[in-house]
């Protein structure tokens, strides 16, 4: 079948799927079925090739940063922005952007790929660049073990043709340097003074983080406080004030800078880059803020021990009311063991106002063992949210939630007319 027909048909399916309110995967599935080479044919024609971003934590926000940073440098960028990070999601996103001849008007593609699906993808389309963020204990019930996930990420590194960008401070990721097949290796890293702030899963119990500074990094995060951060890019020093919440997002900014630097090398326009970085807002649900009756309500997505720990550390502030909502649907991970690898003692002083989600009682039980008081447990999220807001309307509020719990909370917030979305 000719590219024109495939594209036309795919675009029609996409329109119908959207009218019916379906997700992005169906049109992608359709196109993949009638033309399995659809994605490869289009992406292989891009002048600057493909950047693949993978790892267990922070892909979505990092991909968003990389896109905006590249755009600041004058590139036209294609990305799978919908958060549907599978091959089919890529096909669906392409359908929206290609012209009828199946040509994509872009210089470069930035694709966020789930580690399990990335391997399948990179065999079909070798990325020019890859950025591997981390491998944290995540969704182990889906993939088995960290070592296994590392092997999936290794395949991406092996298939990358020009440059691989790795997290120097994550031992398993840094070790992937030896698996490149001709691609250059670049690192992003932390100044030694920040190592203790970002414990890896290996430092959970006992092991103190060891500096890996013997390997020079292309980009380092040197310091941060509140929303100010400083980075070193090669020999250039950058001071920025960020709109991103949370220290993990600040470190991901170093990752984004490093991959952008490996694409543009010395042609980078630093003032434009700095401005773009300062304007990046968090991706969907990753540190979003709402205003309710003049009070700020923050949503913080948590999906694994490291993310939850960093979330608790980043957002420490007295006088904020806390709610935690834990679901155990497939997308959240079914195993509740991970809650026991998070230290909740920082909440002991203020207590937790509301606990919710299908596994709300698992969460309450976890808090009991850290001597954190719990005012109320209500497994139904809509009900719990109402209760939480009405009991705390005089102070800022913060909700830590798993993925599907976050979707429910957003839906409920959208329904209430007094909510204003600010970021």
């Amino acid at each position: 079948m000719s590219k024109l027909y495939v594209t036309l048909l795919g675009k029609s399916v996409r329109r119908i799927a959207r009218l019916r309110g379906n997700g992005s995967a169906l049109p992608g599935l359709f196109v993949e079925h009638i033309d399995p080479n659809f994605i490869r044919d289009i992406l292989s024609k891009l002048p600057q090739g493909v950047i693949v971003i993978s790892g267990t934590n922070g892909k979505t926000t990092t991909a968003k940063m990389v896109v905006e940073l590249l755009e600041s440098q004058g590139l036209t960028v294609f990305t799978n922005r919908t958060g549907s990070n599978f091959t089919r999601g890529v096909a669906a996103a392409l359908l929206a952007d290609v012209d009828l001849r199946g040509k994509l008007h872009a210089d470069i593609a930035v694709l966020e790929l789930d580690e399990a699906h990335a391997t399948h993808f990179v065999y079909a389309i070798q990325p020019k660049y890859s950025l591997i963020l981390n491998v944290l204990r995540d969704q182990l019930d889906r993939f088995g073990e960290i070592d296994y996930t590392t092997n999936l990420l290794r395949t991406i590194v092996e298939q990358t043709t020009t440059a691989v960008v790795l997290n120097r401070e994550d031992r398993r990721i840094a070790d992937l340097a030896k698996d490149t097949r001709g691609a250059e290796v670049h690192y992003f890293g932390l100044d030694e003074s920040l190592l203790r702030v970002f414990p890896s899963d290996d430092n959970l119990r006992g092991e103190t983080p060891k500096p890996r500074a013997q390997v020079p990094a292309d980009v380092t995060l040197d310091s941060f406080s509140d929303n100010r951060a400083s980075f070193t890019l090669g020999t250039t020093h950058m001071e920025v004030s960020l709109k991103l919440n949370g220290i993990y997002n600040v470190y991901n900014a170093a990752a984004a800078l490093a991959v952008v630097r490996s694409v543009l090398k010395d042609t980078i326009d630093i003032p434009k880059l700095t401005k773009a970085l300062e304007n990046v807002t968090p991706a969907f649900g990753r540190g979003e803020s709402f205003t309710i009756e003049q009070q700020k309500l923050e949503l913080i997505l948590v999906k694994n021990p490291s993310g939850f720990r960093l979330g608790l550390q980043s957002f420490l502030s007295p006088g904020v009311a806390t709610m935690i909502a834990i679901n155990d649907n497939y997308a959240d991970g079914r195993d509740m063991s991970w809650l026991w690898d998070v230290d909740f003692r920082s909440l002991a002083k203020e207590g937790v106002s509301q606990v919710s989600g299908v596994r709300g009682y698992d969460m309450a039980l976890r808090l009991q063992y850290d001597d954190v008081s719990v005012d109320n447990v209500e497994t139904k999220i809509g009900k719990a949210l109402k209760r939480f807001i009405s009991n705390n309307s005089d102070k800022p509020m913060r909700i830590y939630c798993t993925y599907t719990a976050m979707l429910e909370i957003r839906r409920a917030l959208r329904k209430s007319t007094y909510v204003e979305h600010i970021a």
Partner: protein
């Protein structure tokens, strides 16, 4: 009068701590202190000298890389652990250390990895991973609720009894519906979740034995387990 001390030894917390195994240590520690005792948690990592006085021992699972790191060390303290088991020391070994407390683990490449043989069990690597929520039943502890995630399949010898029989899930293997193993006061199991917070009956069993071993009698105060009870009833309705 000062409070009565109970020493909890965590076996290899640095390398064998996957799947929230720390939850078991924390549960023992907190329940002891809520019951009026003075818990002391001691870590044992490869190369450390083994502490003289130990009242309860807990150990967890690891990735393959973690397991390789501790294997030689475990063999050097194996006899000592056996002596402690003979002296009725309560122990809880989950997943990886459960397997290594057995006689051997046979890998997919047919390599036999020697265990310490404290438990009369044998484990064989299989390609199928047994993952999901699991509910088992034991005469002594009632329903035991947790989560399993392992590809080794364990078979019990005559020297041990099963901890429980499987109601939903896989357990030791895909053949005989047994889960875990017991020898004297040593419990081995595949259940995470973590195990002890949601199964306080097992936690209190280990605590009671440790206290009686050391002080002759147990005078614990009751604990409010309503969150645990609710969490158990929710967990038993969730898909595998």
């Amino acid at each position: 009068m000062s409070k009565k001390e109970i020493i909890i030894l965590q076996l290899y917390p640095r390398d064998m701590n996957i799947y929230g195994d720390f939850g078991n240590t924390l549960t023992l520690k907190q329940r002891l202190s809520w019951q009026g005792y003075e818990p002391i948690v001691v870590d044992y990592n490869p190369g450390d000298s083994f502490p003289e006085n130990v009242d309860i021992i807990v150990g967890g699972g690891g990735q393959d890389s973690g397991q390789t790191k501790i294997q030689d060390d475990l063999l050097t303290i194996g006899n000592h652990l056996k002596e402690l088991a003979e002296k009725n020391t309560p122990m809880l070994m989950v997943c990886g250390l459960y397997q290594m407390f057995g006689r051997f683990f046979k890998t997919a490449d047919d390599i036999t990895i020697e265990g310490i043989g404290l438990l009369d069990i044998e484990t064989y690597a299989k390609s199928e991973r047994l993952i999901g929520n699991i509910i088992t039943t034991s005469k002594e502890f009632g329903s035991i609720i947790g989560y399993e995630n392992h590809s080794g399949q364990t078979f019990l010898g005559k020297g041990v009894t099963a901890l429980a029989s499987v109601r939903i899930g896989a357990g030791n293997n895909t053949k005989d519906a047994t889960e875990g193993a017991r020898y004297k006061n040593v419990i081995g199991t595949y259940l995470h979740g973590s195990l002890l917070p949601k199964n306080p009956a097992i936690a209190d069993h280990l605590i009671k034995i440790a206290v009686i071993n050391k002080y002759g009698q147990f005078e614990g105060m009751p604990i409010n387990d309503s969150f645990a009870l609710h969490a158990r009833s929710v967990a038993s309705t969730r898909p595998r």
